[in-house]
Symmetry: C2
Subunit: 337 residues, 2 copies
Amino acid sequence: MSTALDTPATRVLQMLAAAEGPLSGEAAAERLKLSRTAVWKQIEVLRGSGYTIVAHGRNGYRLIAVPNAAVPTEVLPRLRTRTFGHAYHYLASTPSTNAVLSRLAARGAPEGTVVVAERQEAGRGRMSRGWFSPPDTGLYFSLLLRPTVEVARVTSLPLVVGLAVADALAPHLPAGEPRVKWPNDIWIGDRKACGILCELQAEIDGVQHVVVGIGINVNIEARALPVELRSIATSLKMAAGVTVQRAELLAALLDHLERGYAAWQRQGLAPFLERYRDRDALFGRSITVERAAGALSGTADGVHPDGSLRLRLPDGRIESIYSGDAHIAAFNAPAPG
Amino acid sequence: MSTALDTPATRVLQMLAAAEGPLSGEAAAERLKLSRTAVWKQIEVLRGSGYTIVAHGRNGYRLIAVPNAAVPTEVLPRLRTRTFGHAYHYLASTPSTNAVLSRLAARGAPEGTVVVAERQEAGRGRMSRGWFSPPDTGLYFSLLLRPTVEVARVTSLPLVVGLAVADALAPHLPAGEPRVKWPNDIWIGDRKACGILCELQAEIDGVQHVVVGIGINVNIEARALPVELRSIATSLKMAAGVTVQRAELLAALLDHLERGYAAWQRQGLAPFLERYRDRDALFGRSITVERAAGALSGTADGVHPDGSLRLRLPDGRIESIYSGDAHIAAFNAPAPG
């Protein structure tokens, strides 16, 4: 775990990366005002994080390879945020990053705290469903928000999170992708690449905190997906053919999330509605929404400013959907417009 | 702790209470199909709960006094509810009944589960404030709800809880008392007798649970109140001069809460608005509302169906207040109507 942008491991790494030839442990110790043993310990920390560092002569080190992972030493130097990610907890494995962050939140963790796990043993999806979280290829993290808005206004937050995630993924994808699927999935084509789970803790007249859990399929390949997911799931790499640097992606995500969140706190969903429509995976399509109260079919017609889905029923009326699963009908009319 | 309406202790107690003279341990054992040792153990359990039971001759028992407390043996036989209180956890002491019930909720406790504590070491009020919880004279309990409504609708729940509590307290008080003070206090005259703290856990598109914490000053006397509370707090006994049976009061509270909650789940706050106005401690009074966004003064004008307070500003406009503390101005105009 790490909770500061500037750690001894980060500083040793910067020297290793900047060194023209091998880095002398003695020179590093002197420059960083550490003992030579302390430098050696940081080298071991870095090796444990996945860096390939070879010994070179007597007491020299050479950086050979950098892990493609959201380790603190890769993420923290890339952060462009004011607060998001500055408190940064990286775990090799955890049952659920949302569960870990909920506990930190109860103990007073600040807004913007991030928990990242390389692997989740019991990743949670919406409505207590599981979330497949294979190691080494995904990005699984949770972000703590403490919005100063009334409870009723929080319902539009997942859509703002979805747009921020979509904006961060877009540079790695073909034009027009990804799209947001109400209420909180990210699709590439008609396949899911990312799920978002927002959990709210509130006194009824005021939000205590929201834990935003985000799981993204980054570099997983089709053959590594469970058979039952192959027709419905995808990843950035499957869609674009390129391996994405996960630390850089996380830094970009936190940047987009921080800016989207700030705008939402000031003005709610309204300023996002136009962009939402541009990215809306459901707009104009025939869908069926499964709700606790029963299924309802119609044509998706965007979202209301409170985040609810506008469903145009066959008789022309608009129904506002606050909760449910939307499925696109098997044979769709082409989307208008 | 007890989680069933019918326990061995309850059955032994019923026999003790029904016995004309002393109860023979042998007869009780035979009737209850227990060993004589088991009967003796239940007698000890009852003594530990505050019952005065004296030995009478060889192996006979006589019930002398019943505790005025929300012990399971007093509460469970009085329940008239369908589910509320049927899962019943009684604790001599706990930091916070809401905290205990939140943990039970996370482990799947059913709707209607109740946690009662004779004493709270760190009772929580709204907005992380403390709540003074002296032992033996109050009623401190938490109730688990799992409403199937969208998050935005939950904002009106505290008002329904407040009305149910007021209805349960009313038979012990002078006509017209108590009154509800937005958002979640109960007043007798202009003094607080009860506080309500509703804590919400939700996925943003669906409520997971609400923990309703209720703290009532029942039998405390003025001299037992901390000096700083004497001008602002009161109790049923201080207001009416009569000691109230706490187990009977809790059974009545759960009955009112269950019925109010069922009506609210079906129809929201609308059917309660008229009764709310009858009991509204603020209606027509000059108040100042302290909010995170700053203080606002005006005349209280009831509540909206979403539970927000209607504040009539000096220029006649109505402002909806979702969160804040309302204080009555020191020199009030008489309430109209």
